[in-house]
Point group: C2
């Protein structure tokens, strides 16, 4: 199998290389692409050195490529999608460029894997990290009892803003500890010792784009146009796993035991929920892990038909690179 990574030097690009190796994805040849700035860098994949090539509009760059994993921002994805797919490569795109287009499937394999088998433009979109993590946890409850609405408050790690943002959080923290004025560049405000209720840009209805992604993408992935989501997305001083406090309203009352059993049997979910032993998912422990972790499962005290729970998942893995690779695996198994 010939595989390409576009945006190879970014946090997600680097994770693609690790995930392809960990998952023993059948890569015979790996091509790395980046901007003119990162072209020439050399990375090691399975003991072999690979040089990053500059991404251009030369279609022959992607000749024979089966899967191209792209994570270089929405404008790059839009500009180069034609080039990448021209010779038959399937583009699995981590940006927001194509997610809401009708002829581009938006896929989380545990939820709607079969949508990946119908991609007329050769493009499959990887959802936003916060959405992926949430829909994996919503799926078993949806199957159990239906869901009519969702409230979610997020606790999002620095990694969602990229590798440089993670460096900035580390640097800001060191500066605060040393009594210096912290540098603010990648975030809207200082993140160290703060929380920022603002991720991506604001839209006309007062929600951020990040929050509206959770609204729109959830409907599309779950094939549930009537399922509404109201999200508050907040950046917290954590390195790389996102947490979410979620309330769902179900179509019939669901007991905590039923819900726990559904989570335990769900693909991609691991339950950590033993309060008496101070055991629940936390981002510090779970960075680098594959699953979506669920805990704090309990009734919604405001609603007979309500459940509340807490999820944690690695933003760069299941929230980005791992989900994209799992889409390719699903296609290989099912086409």
């Amino acid at each position: 199998m010939k595989v390409a990574i576009v945006g190879a030097s970014g946090a997600v690009g680097q994770e693609f290389m690790r995930v392809l190796a960990e998952q023993e994805f059948p890569v015979d040849e790996l091509l790395l692409f980046g901007s003119s700035r990162s072209a020439g860098r050399v990375y090691t994949f399975r003991g072999r050195e690979i040089r990053v090539q500059e991404l251009t509009h030369d279609e022959s760059l992607f000749s024979g490529v089966d899967f191209a994993f792209t994570s270089a921002g929405a404008s790059t994805s839009k500009e180069f999608a034609g080039t990448i797919t021209a010779r038959g490569a399937t583009m699995i795109d981590n940006s927001s460029a194509f997610r809401m287009e009708a002829d581009v499937p938006l896929v989380v394999p545990e939820v709607n894997g079969s949508d990946a088998l119908n991609a007329p433009r050769g493009i499959i979109a990887n959802p936003n990290c916060t959405t992926i993590q949430m829909v994996v946890a919503l799926k078993p409850i949806m199957d159990l009892a239906g869901i009519s609405r969702v409230h979610v408050a997020t606790y999002q790690a620095a990694s969602g803003a990229g590798a440089a943002a993670m460096d900035e959080l580390a640097e800001q923290t060191r500066q605060v500890v040393d009594g210096q004025q912290p540098t603010v560049d990648k975030f809207a405000h200082q993140l160290a010792f703060n929380v920022i209720p603002h991720i991506d840009i604001f839209t006309d209805n007062g929600y951020t784009k990040e929050e509206m992604k959770m609204y729109h993408e959830t409907k599309k992935i779950m094939h549930a146009p009537d399922l509404d989501v109201s999200a508050t997305c907040v950046r917290v001083p954590v390195m790389r796993a996102h947490s979410e406090a979620i309330w769902v309203e179900t179509l019939r009352p669901v007991s905590v035991d039923e819900a726990r059993e559904a989570f335990e049997n769900a693909e991609g979910v691991v339950v950590i929920d033993n309060p008496s032993e101070k055991s629940y998912p936390m981002p510090l422990n779970l960075a680098g892990e594959d699953p979506v972790f669920v805990g704090r499962i309990r009734r919604d005290l405001t609603n007979e038909c309500g459940l509340s729970f807490w999820t944690v998942s690695d933003q760069i893995k299941k929230g980005a690179a791992l989900n994209a690779v799992q889409i390719a695996q699903y296609i290989l198994r099912n086409r």
Copy 2:
């Protein structure tokens, strides 16, 4: 006026001294009490040195005291309430000891100040910090349109666990930055670069006591037995102001403009809500401030009769010492 502070060496005790001075509370004589461990320490109030006395069961210690502000934990409050109030002092208690007792008013002056005027046992309870901050923001919406239920996710600062906990967050952060193993003592787990969905102990229904305080105390303060609250309370690596993401269901649809006007006119509330200028409440900027700050005001996308907003308030000030002093001020103005 003769005033006593019980628990004078704690984070809240120290804040009582600052708030009494800032508010120009008419203190003629200030007495400081503490455990045998802190007895003998000397603090300066309005330029005068005051020595901490050991709290004992000697009722004469509180002879002539008008107001005793107590913040030394629930067990101390329970043990010494009789002693403190025996000679006619009004005890304004920051602990959870008496909050839910029928003959003890639970008061946030902006919401139910007049309840403070009927305290048959001479005890008035100060609510939990997360509840105070929330009900100040709920009050104008309740008055505008009624509220049937509330969902709230908190982002709580280290200060809620006391002065030693704030020191521990600072120390943990320094240790992580220096590549050392962080010390964990005051929190259930490492807080630096983490979030912990666990504050106070767990109860049988899967909620923590902190979360159930928001449920029970809100009903009592707002005189709204049918108003249900489902909370997820989370500790975040922030020093001393709490943040809350709140959704309310109102009895009739409320526009964002109506809600904003109600917040702007509400006592104790300051609106910071100008997304285009990256302007919204954040804990880093607002530590040490008096009001409850409200922003991110928008419709709940899941509910015609729903609103979503974000609040930040200093946990030690309005969440503790300031609210208690405001209760005393209310009594002085209205009795």
